[in-house]
Symmetry: C2
Subunit: 169 residues, 2 copies
Amino acid sequence: MGGNDHHNLEDIQMKVIHEFSKTLEMFGLSMADSRLFVTLYLHPSPMTLDEMSSALGKSKTAMSTGIRNLSDQGLVERVWKKGVRKDLYTSTANLYKTFMTSYIQKWQTAVAEQEKELSAVEGQMKENFKGCVKQMEKDEAVLLQERMQEMIHFHTRLLKALQSLQPAP
Amino acid sequence: MGGNDHHNLEDIQMKVIHEFSKTLEMFGLSMADSRLFVTLYLHPSPMTLDEMSSALGKSKTAMSTGIRNLSDQGLVERVWKKGVRKDLYTSTANLYKTFMTSYIQKWQTAVAEQEKELSAVEGQMKENFKGCVKQMEKDEAVLLQERMQEMIHFHTRLLKALQSLQPAP
DNA sequence: AATTACGTACAGTTCAAACTGTACGTAATT
DNA sequence: AATTACGTACAGTTTGAACTGTACGTAATT
């Protein structure tokens, strides 16, 4: 058979971490951050930086920055436990909702921003090229304007599509 | 005012290329490939490698590999014109549909693949850990199995969501 | 048949992201 | 108050992607 038989828990966990990370990578996370997330997700209890470090075989510094990334995106939470000095982190509950919401949010913000920029430029164009002298430049300007309307329309449709993806509350 | 006033066509084109490329980057293209695509998209006629090269100020080799990437994803088409020796390329028509279809396709393939992998591993687990000795390992295995079901469910929902995004024909 | 024009394979370079180890500031423990 | 434990800022290193220029194979032109 192929090389994909895994016999102990450790092996299986690693395989699972790797596979699922590939999916999360599609949500814009780096492979490193994805793996960190999945590690937390599969761990029965919140973890310290040192635990993550030895679980993944990377430096504590790497864990620290990784956690910050995940935290910024709301994918990971800090947990308090009485008597424990170290910081503890878990993956947020509700995998699907968390990821979809976070991802869609990111897209919406970015797409809206870019639509704004393009619309602004479109406005400028109208002003600047009203009385264009050379025929050739005029033609080009007309095409550009057409394309820009298409691009803006593209963004509008994107936003609508994103809205429809919003997971139910 | 801010530094965002653009007075000639060249400036505006560059700004538009840059902004729209940021959107396309979210579809998994590199910034370089995005810019190449948008350049084609804004150009009134199909372009040769040399034209792209001078339009973007990059080497012809870079254009060649960029075009291949875009071509692989069905975002760009080769065009024949009588009497012209050089290869000519255009962006495919129907911006929104092209990108959505290509992107969704990519996701579907990847997600389905990873779901398959995870399901396979789940099968293996059931076999290997039926009669698990130590209690601790057993608990871990149970958790892992639970999580894996969640992950697989995650993929299933993703596929459904992707399906709903499919642009109308 | 010889030459020219074209696209791309390949080796080398540049630059940014990921990572490591050390150093430091702060909070807990003694 | 002194010491220890912790998280992170920072500088340096490694790794991979983007890019360049050269070299080569193939097809068109002469």
